[in-house]
């Protein structure tokens, strides 16, 4: 799995079938006990229906098991309030008749063990809620509300965190403001997080694994990068198609602000924030349309990052484009894509097995530093 060492035990095991509106739902997948599993699909693909069924808000036939406990199986059906879960809805849905604190501890008060002052403190600090505490719910911005809603869900001591497009109602600024919080949570929480989204950019930042849903059915599920670079799955055809790869920060240059990272034994340079990052694991995002291929490395070029790669497969990407799946030399698991015109591919006579130099115009970090919670 990307960004983690070794396989994790199964935290969530879902097998649900039923009808929701106009189409049939058939969802069977698992998620590890830690980390973010993204439920990805277009609007109306049934992602939310699956999430609601896992929460017991709507009833589908089948099985839901979380951390070894069965929430639903055949005739057994725990009602939502008896499933220890946190659910963050698309709109924050705070209780307008309660204060910020009243909202935060609503679930905590009802969980076994009640309100834990230390944990409450920790969540308030982690989500920067201190400033919001004295304010009325109606005076909070969209991003602030969503932060309170996330805190409220976590404080109820869930065994599973479900997030239903928590950022889709927010503008770009609010999104950028709240994404780091979710990243930190995801890294720190010792529970499975199921994150519904139709936005690949969010998923690239947050998810470790992805479940692709179309018309109520699970099309594919697995590690994030495997799905992103699965030419058959079609995510590649997105104009902003990208791969997300794990790298380790090995150095930082005070002179020009560049961090040096190790990616499968090769060196990559990106905009860094400081020497304190050295030793941390980060995700690198490589956009397919930023990758060009050359038979020989260019001697004089402004392009900083040139990786030695091997062509694994070539697929049609668009009318004039090809999507080329590449693996790093010496690290066949680390795959990414290049979007190349058919004409260039013909000129270079590209074929699977070819060893080339991939020049990457921009490599960006997909995540910010991660402290641990609990």
């Amino acid at each position: 799995m990307i960004g983690e060492t070794g396989p994790s035990p199964v935290g969530l095991d879902v097998a649900l079938v039923g009808r929701r509106g106009s189409f049939a739902i058939e969802a069977a997948f698992t998620a590890p006990a830690r980390g973010v599993t993204a439920l990805f699909g277009r609007s109306g693909s049934g992602k939310t229906s699956i999430l609601r069924a896992i929460a017991g808000l709507t009833r589908l036939e089948g099985r839901v098991r979380v951390a070894g406990e069965t929430w639903q199986d055949g005739a057994l059906f725990l009602p939502t309030h008896r499933r220890p879960l946190g659910y963050v809805f698309q709109e924050a849905s705070l209780f307008s008749h309660l204060s910020v604190d009243g909202n935060l501890i609503y679930g905590a008060r009802r969980s076994p063990g009640g309100v834990d002052a230390a944990m409450r403190r920790e969540v308030i600090d982690l989500l920067s809620l201190e400033r919001l505490m004295p304010r009325a719910i109606g005076d909070l911005s969209g991003g602030e509300r969503q932060r309170v809603a996330i805190g409220r869900a976590i404080l109820s001591r869930p065994r599973l965190l479900l997030m239903d497009e928590p950022l889709s109602g927010l503008d770009h600024r609010a999104k950028d403001e709240i994404l780091p919080f979710i990243e930190q949570l995801a890294a720190g929480l010792d529970l499975p997080i199921l994150y519904v989204s139709h936005d690949l950019a969010e998923i690239e930042r947050l998810a470790d694994r992805i479940v692709v849903v179309a018309e109520g059915r699970v099309q594919a599920s697995g590690p994030l990068n495997a799905a992103l670079t699965d030419l058959g799955l079609g995510l590649v055809r997105d104009p902003r198609a990208a791969a997300v790869l794990p790298a380790r920060v090995t150095g930082f240059s005070e002179e020009d602000g560049l961090a040096e990272l190790d990616l499968g034994g090769q060196r990559v340079f990106v905009d860094g924030s400081g020497p304190e990052e050295i030793g941390l694991n980060r995700r690198l995002r490589i956009v397919a349309s930023d990758v060009s291929l050359a038979r020989a490395p260019l001697a004089a070029s402004t392009i900083l990052n040139i990786l030695r790669v091997e062509i694994l497969a070539i697929e049609p990407g668009g009318r004039a484009d090809l999507a080329i799946l590449l693996a790093l030399d010496g690290a066949p698991d680390l795959t990414f894509m290049a979007k190349v015109t058919r004409r260039s591919a013909a000129r270079l006579q590209l074929a699977p097995g070819d060893r080339l130099h991939a020049q990457i115009k921009s490599v960006s970090l997909a995540t910010s530093p991660m402290p641990r919670l609990r």
Binding site: L57, H81, Y87, Y106, I137, G138, A153
Partner: protein
């Protein structure tokens, strides 16, 4: 009494989409459009010896204080149920679902989420129900029978005084009711405004 009966009824009407709930909703709303005497007549029959009164082994509930209360409740119910029902519908499913995901049981979330969020409806329902119960006339006259000291209510007392041309007494009772009703409604709207201010 109206609230105790009206709240669950309003909740059920706001939630259920079945034909039964529509029929019950219509029945509850009927007193709004019917002349009070029609309702009073049917209630008189229903509460009489061959109706409910007989079933409970009493001679008749009509012309007694309990009968009067039942009649008042039936007659004023729509004024209480309707605003509370509307308020519950405005609250919607989402806050209840959120509460459920936060480990709140159905009864718990009804009292800690639905009722507080629908409080403006409760206020309106209380004011209307109260005002209407005080002011009603027809049903009370039909069922109560205006027995002094037992089933005589203020609104009918005024009617009697006027009939007997005792204008001074009528003035006292009528004026008293006017001032009392005015004060109650004023107080309620002040409270309502204060709640509104707390509420975002």
């Amino acid at each position: 009494m109206l609230l105790v009966l009206g709240t669950p009824l309003a909740w059920w009407l706001a939630r259920s989409r079945s034909l039964v709930s529509d029929v019950i909703g219509t029945l509850v709303a009927l007193p709004l459009v019917m002349p009070p005497t029609v309702l009073g007549f049917y209630l008189l029959i229903a509460l009489g010896p061959s109706g409910l009164g007989g079933m409970f082994g009493l001679r008749s509930l009509a012309f007694s204080f309990p009968g009067l209360v039942i009649g008042s409740v039936v007659y004023s119910l729509p004024f209480v149920v309707q605003p509370i029902r509307n308020a519950f519908e405005a609250v919607g499913d989402r806050p209840m679902e959120v509460a459920a995901t936060l480990r709140s049981s159905p009864l718990d979330r009804f009292f800690t989420v639905a009722v507080p969020l629908a409080r403006s409806g409760f206020l309106t329902g209380t004011v209307l129900g109260f005002a209407h119960t005080i002011g009603e006339f027809g049903v009370v006259l039909m069922i109560g029978g205006n027995i002094p000291g037992e089933t005589r209510v203020l609104s009918i007392a005024i009617f009697d005084y006027v009939e007997q041309l005792r204008f001074a007494d009528a003035h006292i009772v009528a004026g008293g009711m006017l001032i009392f009703s005015f004060l109650v409604i004023l107080a309620m709207s002040r409270i309502g405004r204060r709640i509104g201010e707390i509420r975002p």
